[in-house]
Subunit: 210 residues, 2 copies
DNA sequence: AATTTTAGCTTACACGTGTACACTACTGCT
DNA sequence: AGCAGTAGTGTACACGTGTAAGCTAAAATT
């Protein structure tokens, strides 16, 4: 009942998850990790791995879930900053870029598995990104009073641009270059916002005519 | 001097390249291919591989180069179609989507290696995509008379959106859904074009004032 | 015609992999 | 107190891997 056992199990499970995360880097993808390596890094015998996951795939999906969690925390953080005033786009991009800097490997995981060889992984990543997109879509519809379909297209395009910029940022060390990239990304998001706002207005005008 | 030998060598080199390409699929990435598998598929003894490439990496870079070639052929094709009249954006997207359908695995290679674990691969892919972007940038500057910096930002955003759409298209079988995706992509590109044109005009106006 | 080069072969080896199996020690339930 | 369940261990095996070494036959060079 006390659960000292379950507690310990959860603890070494985390050891495995963290071991996997720690091994990820620019040069090391999840798919290139072996069960034995992860177990070793966690300080476990290879066969002990199976007490926690049936598969490396299962561990991987857990990692993707955690990455999604990180993404959602990011959103919350961005919302808080936005509430304090300032350019929504600028704050969003800056917050995102901070994530890249502090959690590069988690982000790399998402990027890689999105185009990876496992359908389950791809689906999981896409699900997390879709969630991200939908949040933005809701915001646009509500705060900017956009047409529903237009809001979705804008949100989708914006997320695509931001993720791509994040991917580029991963390969940049120079601080100045990163700022340059941020500025460019912000401008690109403004392009999209501008175009979307216009289409939304046009559609509204048509509706009024009827 | 006749070169019957060199000719034969080139032939089996192609055998290796094609063998690698043929093994690529949604479920199989280049990095998951082994030297032995490729050699076997090409009908060669494993060790014969070394007569043509020092490494799987060298083969991989060759593949990326070929993929870049395919991309450039695509551009030429699109330009020809555009010359015959019609919406530039629509024709470009449709042409690109045809590439996805006919050369999905080549495109997958680019997508995956762009975020892969080898710096050399990443650099090679980025080089090809940059070439693609620059072509578009030149076109925009010239045909649409855009400010240089604005043209680059538009080209960059457009390529990002199109590649992302291509990536999504790879996971879609349904024809109707694909058309839907194309339409959405076209609209998103129009957002960007709209925003870019506006910024370019504004910048021009400022310059005139001086 | 004799010699050198070389594309391709077979054999061989050391290494890392996933995982089956049997065992131990300790928790948790009855 | 005693029994069942289980997190973790070490050993063992079959398999696929990259690649070194040496050989053969045919093309190219001399």
């Amino acid at each position: 009942m006390s659960g000292v056992r379950a507690q310990q199990k959860e603890k070494t499970r985390r050891l495995l998850v963290d071991a996997a995360l720690n091994q990820l880097s620019a040069e090391r993808s999840f798919s290139s990790l072996s069960l034995r390596e992860v177990a070793k890094e966690a300080g476990l015998a290879p066969t002990s791995f199976y007490r926690h996951f049936t598969d490396m795939d299962e561990l991987g999906l857990t990692l993707v879930d955690e990455a999604g969690l990180t993404l959602r925390q990011l959103m919350r953080q961005a919302r808080q900053r936005i509430a304090k005033g300032g350019s929504v786009i600028q704050i969003s991009v800056e917050t995102f870029m901070e994530l890249i800097e502090s959690n590069g490997n988690v982000f790399r995981l998402l990027l890689r598995e999105r185009s990876g060889t496992s359908a389950a992984f791809r689906a999981a990543v896409i699900r997390e990104i879709r969630y991200f997109t939908m949040e933005l879509c809701d915001y646009l519809q509500q705060a900017k009073d956009l047409d529903a379909e237009v809001a979705y297209m804008q949100a989708n395009a914006a997320v695509t641009i931001v993720f791509s910029a994040g991917s580029d940022a991963l390969d940049i060390d120079d601080k100045y270059e990163r700022e340059q990239l941020s500025k460019q990304t912000i401008q690109q998001l403004r392009f999209i916002a501008r175009g979307a706002a216009e289409l939304s207005d046009r559609r509204k005008a048509i509706r009024r005519k009827r």
